[in-house]
Amino acid sequence: MSKYDKLVQNAAGRVVPQIINGSDAIAFQGVGKYHPTGRKYAPPIATCADYPADGNKIVAGIKEALVRSGIRDGMAISTHHHFRNGDLVAQQVFDAAAELGIKGLIWVPSASFECHAPLIKYLEDGTIHHIEGSMNGALGKFTSEGKMQGLGVLRSHGGRYQAIQDGDVHIDITVIAAPTADCFGNATGDRGPAACGLLGFALADSQYADRVIVVTDNLVPFPCVPWQIHGNYVDFVVQLDKIGIPEKIVSGTTEITKSPDRLLLAEWTAQFCDEAGIVQDGFSFQAGAGGTALSIGIYFAEMCRQRGIKARFARGGSNKYLVKMLEEGLLDYILDGQTFDLDGVRSMRENSNHLNTSPFTSYNYHGKGNFAQFVDVVILGATEVDVNFNANVVTHSDGYLLHGIGGWMNCLFSKCVILPVPLFRDRMPVIRDKVTTICGPGELIDVIVTERGIAINPLRTDLIEKMKGSSLPIKTIEELKHEAEKICGKPAGPYVTDEPVAVIKWVDGTVIDTVWRVDKR
């Protein structure tokens, strides 16, 4: 099987492979250009005759569930990140696979975290062949140094749903960690000792995987409600003592920043939205999980309070700040894709205006529209932005892959995309001539807010017009780049080889860029 082949330059000007891990891939053709044909992928037909008549699907452990699911070499096994850095399940799945002597697996996580670094040993011993999902931190470093057998594939949350639905990724076995479940396999994330909110990231897997295993540490008698995951999709249920570490499930990035520089970015971003006419009665917004983005929500809340207006909906990442807006009547609905703290979990349980969403409803590009498209403003981060407004969220300027895409790519379709970023981090300029890796084409990115000036994409003549006469420091992106280089010096590198180690899939499944093996000098 060829790790990669048929390199070609795509519409973003990047060289990408058209053979990935032995299968055909399509190079990025431009935003909205690729129109798939054919029908969606379908899982095999099951029959009740093969399942326990009393609905009790409990088996003794993860290993037994894997064996009864028919695990064998080369299969794709998926897990999910709703426990974020507190996940205890993925590792046990691959421990079991390794004990069974299985080789060449493809791990398809919805995202990876630092807690998954121990899986490196299975990449080294061949239990796992490659990862399709995200490669964060230590896994990213391992990948960047060319140590993974296969080619890594990075997808956005929406892209993952698209890939599973379209059959680009065929999942043999999925293991869904469930904070509460019944013996039939109905499962929910909004209660139980490892409560995490919702299980939306596992929706596609439950619908399309050949075999579905639910793992829980809080088994309740049938029915488990709400049934975020339907037991009718589930093959086996496994009961464990502990499936997650609650304090790590609620991640630390959901506190408001105390950094004065970041607060300034948040304040300017909010002021920009206001002056651009975005903050008005009935508006909608989405803010990422980072401290800067969270703080913007606070400013929006204050504006709503002062003017007696309210937002119609906010897309989450929900957290206590959004919940407070909802409860204070400054916001009609939270459309939650991922719950960041216990206030979010509580609100989801108790407030009927705090709604569950999934990558299918929010982000899937191969559907009949999605929610992310009609959000008025979305506020996101980036590791780098270039003078053409292209942005990177996966690699650093030294070429190392360190982060996943998350929902970032899918959010770019909202009506206004703002990236508040520092002009430089320590000595690393964030605004570059060319981003190391393109994750978002510049035509979709509207505004860059830095502590030394705000650049508006020249394509957004409407915004440029509205901001004339603003007291905010509006500059061109080139001016910002020069300012960064004046302070930091012109950066060298990155130094990379011509050997691909991972690819970045665009929202439609085409390949937008390649991550190359770093050249260790």
Partner: protein, 413 residues
């Protein structure tokens, strides 16, 4: 890289939480040329640059044989330069200075009576806090060589403060340095006077004589280096003696403001510093009165609970009511609260407009007496109102042509 612990010297900071700084270990050797090791967070992007800069500096100081380890957490070139120079000067006696280019944007003067609502204290030896200080728009930025720098780090801090003055754009904020207590602090002046400082804070000041020494030393350095910009002084009153000598200090040459430091003052009195500040009421009033008598500004102490914005606001309003013209701050988030609450509020501005207008109208009509409605207005009231108007115009709270609008509104009524 192995160093001889007896002869190796170190400068700068490293370790968890350290950002935009570097740590230099240096040992002069007798043979072997320049052995330089670099461990940098930005190795790929700037490793070669850092090495080039290190070699250039060692050549400049005529050092041929050396072992040097640079552990870098993303330091900007001016920080690297300060750390390397400090290490070189710890290792050998050397008088020449390695000066980074002076940013043209950093050449500006400030006036005696410039607005000084807020001045942001920055520890002089912590580069990460200085780089972005100016974007928060304080009226002044203080690079502190005194209490915010540990005694063992005072030497290296001077190089960093000097380089910061030359290389970091404070975007128009008044460029201030707090030197160490006189007489020891006089030697700090060599590192700041020639490098576009606008104002020197003289801590724990207790006499006009101390100010005379500072002025004398500044004149001497100016004569020697050709530095010509005005350098104002802001003595800090921090003791019972200082309070009692406030007037003579306030009347000293180049002094544009007195600040009060209440931590040291309350310690000197042997009392606890309270939220209400009853214990410092006399000292604050003395300082305000000395300043007003000398025609200079009175600046209040810092408010140290950075999370408590309501408490800060109350503090500012009390301070303003006592006659202070500004106060120190220790976190950029305090700046806005200080500015908003020291600035004249809408009521004050409205009242001042009426008074100033009445004064102008009286002049136009050739009347000797200014009156508003049935009330006569005294001259000092007019003067204060004019000051409020000037300040409001200065702060952008009132357009320069406010009077046309005012008259049009009057007419409309």
């Amino acid at each position: 890289m192995e160093f001889n612990v007896l002869t190796a010297v170190t400068a700068g900071n490293k370790g968890k939480g350290v950002r935009s700084d570097c740590h230099v270990t240096l040992e002069l050797t007798s043979a072997g040329g320049k052995e330089i090791a670099i461990e940098s967070k930005v190795q790929v992007m700037y490793g070669d640059d850092i090495r080039r800069q290190a070699v250039e500096m060692l050549d400049y100081f005529k050092i041929e044989h050396v072992k040097m380890l640079i552990e870098d957490s993303g330091a900007l070139p001016y920080v690297l330069a300060a750390r390397i120079e400090a290490a070189v000067k710890m290792a050998k006696s050397e008088t020449i200075e390695y000066l980074c280019p002076l940013l043209p944007e950093n050449i500006y003067h400030t006036s005696r009576d410039k607005n000084r609502f807020s001045r942001l204290y920055l520890p002089g030896n912590t580069p990460s806090l200085a780089i972005n200080a100016g974007i928060h728009k304080p009226d002044g930025i203080i690079l502190d060589l005194e209490d915010a720098v540990a005694p063992a780090r005072k030497f290296e801090a001077k190089f960093l403060v000097r380089n910061t003055l030359r290389s970091i754009d404070f975007y128009g904020a008044e460029r201030m340095v707090r030197i160490n207590q006189v007489p020891a602090g006089l030697s700090d002046l060599d590192f700041v006077v020639p490098h576009q400082v606008n104002l020197i804070l003289v801590p724990k000041c207790e006499s006009a004589e101390q100010i005379r020494l500072v002025n004398e030393k500044i004149s001497e350095i100016k004569a020697r280096t050709g530095a010509s910009q005005p350098i104002w002084l802001m003595p800090i009153i921090e003791s019972a003696m200082g309070v009692l000598k406030a007037l003579e200090i306030a009347q000293s040459e180049n002094v544009v403001a007195l600040a009060i430091g209440l931590e040291d003052y309350t310690a000197d009195l042997g009392v606890k510093r309270t939220q209400e500040g009853t214990e410092s009421f006399f000292a604050r009033s003395m300082v305000v009165n000395a300043c007003k008598a000398a025609g200079i500004q009175a600046i209040d102490s810092v408010y140290s609970d950075v999370a408590n914005m309501e408490g800060l606001k109350d503090n500012v309003l009390r301070s303003k009511a006592l006659g202070f013209d500004g106060m120190g701050c220790i976190h950029p988030r305090q700046i806005r609260v200080i500015h908003e609450n020291f600035a004249p509020d809408a009521d004050e501005i409205e009242k001042a407009k009426k008074i100033v207008n009445a004064f102008i109208e009286a002049g136009e009509k050739g009347l000797g007496v200014v009156s508003l409605g049935t009330k006569m207005i005294d001259q000092p009231v007019v003067k204060r109102a004019q000051k409020v108007i000037d300040l409001a115009v200065n702060l952008g709270k009132l357009p320069t042509g406010w009077r046309e609008e005012f008259l049009a509104n009057q007419f409309a009524k």
